[in-house]
């Protein structure tokens, strides 16, 4: 058995090796690459930034205390979309109900981090690094999930292997494996005059290729490779599949662009998008209101993505997460404060859906974490580890989630 050190060394060698591959993959090479990659499964990770209120998203409507603790923001029983007699969806999430019925959508409730922080930044940091309580971790769990693969068997590299739909690289994808952060596919080119043959494009490419500044050298390399591949895939001409209606707003746009990239066969294996605006300290709303508006955009984007991907959705898994849940009781300003456990959505072709996974800790006062929030009964890493392992083949779970001692025995078995 190979030691970790040997593995890392070989990984580094493999990376050095990439320099020999011409920066520009021609369409022919690309076609070859995509044939090899076609059967690969893909993982899409979504972060709900700001701590979504899981108790008003997947509602434990058989808990009497739910209604007592949330006098103005509880969803009235008759408006909840019932799922299994105990839990139900917020009424703004109607568009996801068909996926649940088709068993493509699973839910994990009372999931979260073992770390007790109530700071957005810390909690997001811990969830994205995958190392709760350890600030010094430099890379993100999803990047390490890609590192866990045996790279010596990888024949073709593509700058689109790991893509984030955001202007800046999210923590989740930071690390040794090159990843690409894109805000908008359509604008991803040098605007000089629209052609790669013009002086500035080739000039910049040469300058970045020759610089001794290693950090900027690799940033430049990724940039120019990506420009050229995207240009040949021509994503500016894109029409979503019939029936796929993405809502207005950044998240819908992100999901549509992920669908574009996946369908363009650029070799995407993992994609990341985030959606903010969940930090409802005041006037959260109930059936209607701030949370409802957010949830409508969130679920319509996901269902449109599912429809858009059509048969290719079979190869996909989508996992959602949020840094922590919110207080079980509503606060003095008809909102909720920072809490603990939350709900995760897992959607995809191989998902054993139509079920709420995880042990329900209850909402009675003595069952609450610190007397105020839903307690965590499933470590979020159990869900992510299963997705990383079964979806992108990350076998070395100690590498993905160091110090967590997660093995396949901790999986919830929500993926076939």
């Amino acid at each position: 058995m190979e030691t970790r050190r040997a593995f890392l060394k070989r990984g580094a060698m493999a990376l050095v090796g990439t320099a020999a591959i011409p920066a520009f993959l021609t369409r022919a090479v690309l076609a070859q690459a995509t044939t090899a990659l076609r059967n690969r499964r893909k993982l899409v990770v979504i972060f709900q930034r700001g701590a979504a209120d899981g108790l008003n998203i997947v509602i434990p409507h058989s808990e009497p205390s739910y209604f007592q603790m949330r006098p103005s923001i509880a969803i009235p029983r008759e408006q909840i979309i019932d799922l299994d007699g105990f839990f139900g969806l917020h009424p703004a999430m109607q568009s996801l109900k068909p996926l649940w019925d088709q068993k493509h959508l699973a839910l994990v409730h009372a999931a979260g981090s073992p770390d007790v922080t109530r700071s957005h930044f810390d909690a997001q940091d811990f969830m994205e690094s995958g190392t709760p309580g350890i600030k010094a971790t430099e890379d993100g769990w999803l990047n390490r999930a890609l590192q866990a693969e045996d790279e010596s068997r990888r024949e073709v590299r593509t700058p689109f292997r790991a893509v984030a739909l955001s202007a800046q690289m999210p923590r989740t994808l930071q690390g040794r494996i090159p990843a690409l952060a894109l805000d908008n596919l359509r604008d991803f080119r040098l605007a000089e005059a629209g052609s790669a043959a013009l002086p500035a494009t080739s000039g910049f490419e040469t300058i970045y290729d020759q610089t001794v500044d290693t950090v900027l050298h690799s940033a430049g390399r990724e940039t120019f490779e990506a420009i050229k591949m995207l240009e040949s895939a021509d994503p500016r001409k894109y029409t979503p599949a019939a029936g796929a209606v993405y809502p207005r707003g950044r998240f819908g746009e992100s999901m549509m662009q992920i669908a574009q990239l996946l369908k363009a066969d650029l070799g995407v294996e993992v994609a990341f998008a985030d959606i903010g605006g969940w930090d409802h300290h005041q006037n959260e709303g109930s059936v209607n209101g701030q949370l409802a508006d957010r949830l409508r955009e969130f679920s319509q984007s996901l269902s449109a993505f599912w429809t858009d991907m059509g048969p290719e959705a079979e190869d996909l898994t989508v996992v959602t997460m949020s840094e922590f849940g919110r207080t079980a009781r509503e606060n003095g300003t008809r909102g909720t404060d920072h809490g603990h456990a939350n709900v995760m959505f897992v959607m995809g072709g191989r998902v054993k859906g139509g079920r709420v996974y995880g042990r329900w800790p209850g909402l009675a006062p003595e069952q609450l974490n610190e007397g105020r929030d839903l307690a965590v009964t499933t470590d979020f890493r159990q869900v992510l580890a299963e997705a990383a392992c079964k979806q992108i083949g990350a076998q070395d779970l100690d590498l993905v989630f160091p110090h967590a001692a997660i093995t396949s025995s901790h999986f919830l078995n929500l993926l076939a």
Partner: protein
């Protein structure tokens, strides 16, 4: 202490003996030359060097120049003040801003008859227009489900206010004889527009082409332009001018260190401008009256000013927080059918006060301390009345009783409790270390040497948090002047944009397209939603999209394709490419260009240019929809060789470092 003596000593200790013109790459251990010291000081204390800056700092001596920057009040800044005269709203108080550019709550009050229509004619026109717009939107909303523009910038292609379609009830687009209007004087044009029936001037202005709008306002005073913009979108006057002033100060202020520190502290005490509809009116005065005056002063004064600022109290929800046993809460409990639900504690400000503003996340506090500090600050809020819009301590909301913060008993004392906690936090060693680390990360290195941070922490504690003294300690330390630190920092997008404008000695007439560029570069001004602000380190700014946006910006700037901004590069008639390139290198980067880059740029200059098409016109972003008088975007001609060369240099790796 006699500063002159100390200075002489420091100069001898840090400065430079090698010849200035010696360009052989020195060994890592070698000291910086006097030229390099001047470059380094400018790189770190300013938003970038202007063409002759290095020369003058070198002849003055880097330490002497730094000392001048540490005392901005002694530096003449009339140049930037002249430019800021184009943004008259930025001189107003919050009260005046809210009165002249009414936010939505004011218009709702007007609609409900709670306040009267102002009598002053200009204000009357602005309020009447806003009221007409408000009623129109309300009618529309009643018919169709509302798409909520969530906090944050609208997505691309999404309008902040959808212009009314043809079926929209409301005032008809007026028939205006544009030709006749353009023949009269600017003031007559202004009067005509202001005296149109409410709502019609807005429609008229919106339907004009950008170039026509430019013609329409030519010759008007900045105040007159503001009035007209306020007819369309009062909020955008405030936001737009705020963003423009930030860039103008970064580019043109002689008090560069003060601006760098203002930016640093704003980011430290970050506020998101779109938190809610009222925030822009408070953010404008927050930066000017709360942050800038204390940027080099005592940290406790700054912390206290922030804690008392309406902008922060609104942003971090403290003005919503009500003590569970306060008089206000008791009163609400007696009247459960009252309009408001039982009020309660909100911990947001308390948490960020400790985690982000003072102690740092490992600063030794617990969730219990957060709750206790939240109890301490109950009652700290905003007097929303007019005049007012200022800090108010409301004893009825204040939680009674003793509080226990990090083991220390805070006796019941109303507003005084908060002052006590602020003092305790500002003087804590954890705060001293947290702030010193952050400053060293901004000014020295992404991984600041621990010995330097130790020294700065000591100075902080010894001087009771005198920021100027902490900076002085840093600027006099060998770590600051080490070769490892020289050009080691990656510029943030703001630093990149501002330094490009300074290096090219650009003339900015209107900064709207520049603030739009910063959005594309991933760093919208006042645009961080979360209270932790932007990263001070390089990594997050190295994404492909962000780098590509830099290259695009460099080319657009040097070929004068950014409307409202002009650069004058040396013309290249019949001169040797290599010579022109060398001149550009000297003026843009003080000659600090990699040899390969030099060769490539010269080669590109000498390559016959492809028959160039027209370059794509620059675009504003959705957030700028309200900037009606932003200069018209034009299709630029293909860049000439000098412009391309300058663009390549500004986009090169060499220019991304400071």
């Amino acid at each position: 202490m006699y500063p002159g003596l100390l200075l002489a000593f420091t100069l001898a200790a840090t400065a430079p003996e090698a010849s200035a013109q010696d360009r052989t790459p020195p060994a890592r251990s070698q000291r910086l030359t006097s030229r390099e010291s001047a470059e380094h000081a400018i790189d770190r204390l300013t938003f970038g060097a202007r063409p002759d800056d290095v020369e003058s700092v070198q002849s003055m001596g880097a330490m002497r120049w730094i000392d001048q920057q540490l005392h901005p009040e002694k530096l003449d800044d009339s140049g930037v003040e002249t430019r800021l005269a184009a943004l008259p709203a930025m001189r107003l108080s919050t009260d005046e801003l809210i009165r002249r550019f009414p936010p939505n709550p004011t218009i709702r009050q007007l609609d409900a008859g709670k306040i009267g229509m102002p009598t002053e004619p200009v204000e009357h026109a602005i309020y009447a227009s806003a009221l007409a717009g408000y009623r129109e939107r309300r009618e529309n909303k009643a018919d169709q489900p509302q798409t909520v523009i969530q906090q944050g910038l609208p997505a691309q292609g999404e309008a902040i206010h959808t212009p009314p379609g043809p079926e929209t009830p409301g005032p008809e687009t007026p028939k205006v004889d544009m030709g006749a209007l353009l023949r009269v004087s600017a003031t007559e044009r202004w009067t005509t527009l202001l005296s149109m029936p409410p709502g019609t001037a807005r429609l008229f202005l919106q339907q004009l082409k950008p170039a026509e709008r430019q013609q329409l306002v030519s010759g008007m005073t900045p105040e007159q332009k503001e009035n007209l913009l306020a007819l369309v979108q009062p909020a955008r006057v405030v936001e737009g001018e705020l963003m423009q002033q930030k860039l103008l100060r970064a580019v043109y202020s002689n008090r560069q260190l003060q601006e760098v520190m203002t930016d640093f502290w704003f980011n430290h005490f970050n506020i998101y401008i779109h938190k809610n509809g009222e925030e822009p009116w408070y953010v404008a005065t927050y930066e000017r009256d709360v942050i800038r005056p204390h940027a080099l002063g005592r940290f406790e004064d700054l912390l206290s000013a922030v804690a008392h600022s309406p902008a922060m109290l609104i942003y971090l929800d403290n003005q919503q927080s009500i003590g569970p046993h306060s008089m206000a809460a008791m009163r609400a409990a007696q009247n459960p059918r009252g309009k408001n639900a039982a009020p309660g504690l909100n911990e947001n400000y308390a948490r960020e006060l400790m985690e982000l503003h003072t102690l740092g996340v490992n600063g030794g506090y617990t969730q219990r301390d957060v709750t206790e500090v939240a109890r301490v600050f109950t009652g700290w809020g905003v007097d929303g009345r007019d005049p007012g819009h200022s800090f108010e301590f409301n004893p009825r909301r204040h939680e009674p009783g003793t509080k226990l913060v990090m083991g220390r008993t805070i006796r019941e004392g109303g507003e005084q409790e908060g002052a006590e906690v602020l003092h305790m936090l500002a003087t804590s060693p954890a705060t001293a270390r947290f702030l010193s680390t952050k400053l060293a990360t901004r000014f020295v290195s992404d991984t600041p040497p621990p010995a330097l941070v130790d020294r700065m922490t000591k100075t902080y504690l010894k001087t009771h948090g005198e920021i100027r003294q902490v900076l002085r300690t840093m600027f006099r330390s060998p770590e600051f002047w080490s070769r490892d630190a020289y050009r080691a920092k990656l510029k943030t997008p703001l630093e990149f944009v501002a330094s490009s404008l300074r290096a090219t000695d650009a003339n900015i007439d209107n900064a709207a397209f520049l603030t739009a560029s910063l959005e594309r570069l991933g760093m919208p001004l006042y645009g961080v939603q979360q209270p932790n602000g932007y990263s001070l380190k390089g990594d997050p700014w190295l994404g492909a999209e962000s780098l590509l946006a830099r290259l695009n910006f460099a080319l657009a700037l040097t070929s004068n394709r950014i409307p409202g901004v002009r650069v004058a590069l040396p013309s290249n008639t019949a001169q040797d490419s290599s010579l022109i390139e060398a001149q550009l290198e000297q003026s843009l980067l003080d000659g600090r260009v990699n040899a390969h880059t030099h060769e490539t740029v010269v080669r590109e200059m000498e390559t016959p240019q492809a028959p160039a098409g027209t370059a794509a016109p620059a675009k504003l972003t959705a957030a700028h929809r309200g900037d009606l008088f932003a200069p018209a975007a034009q299709t630029g001609s293909a860049p000439n060789t000098t412009a391309t060369a300058a663009g390549l240099l500004l986009g090169s790796p060499d220019f991304q470092r400071r």
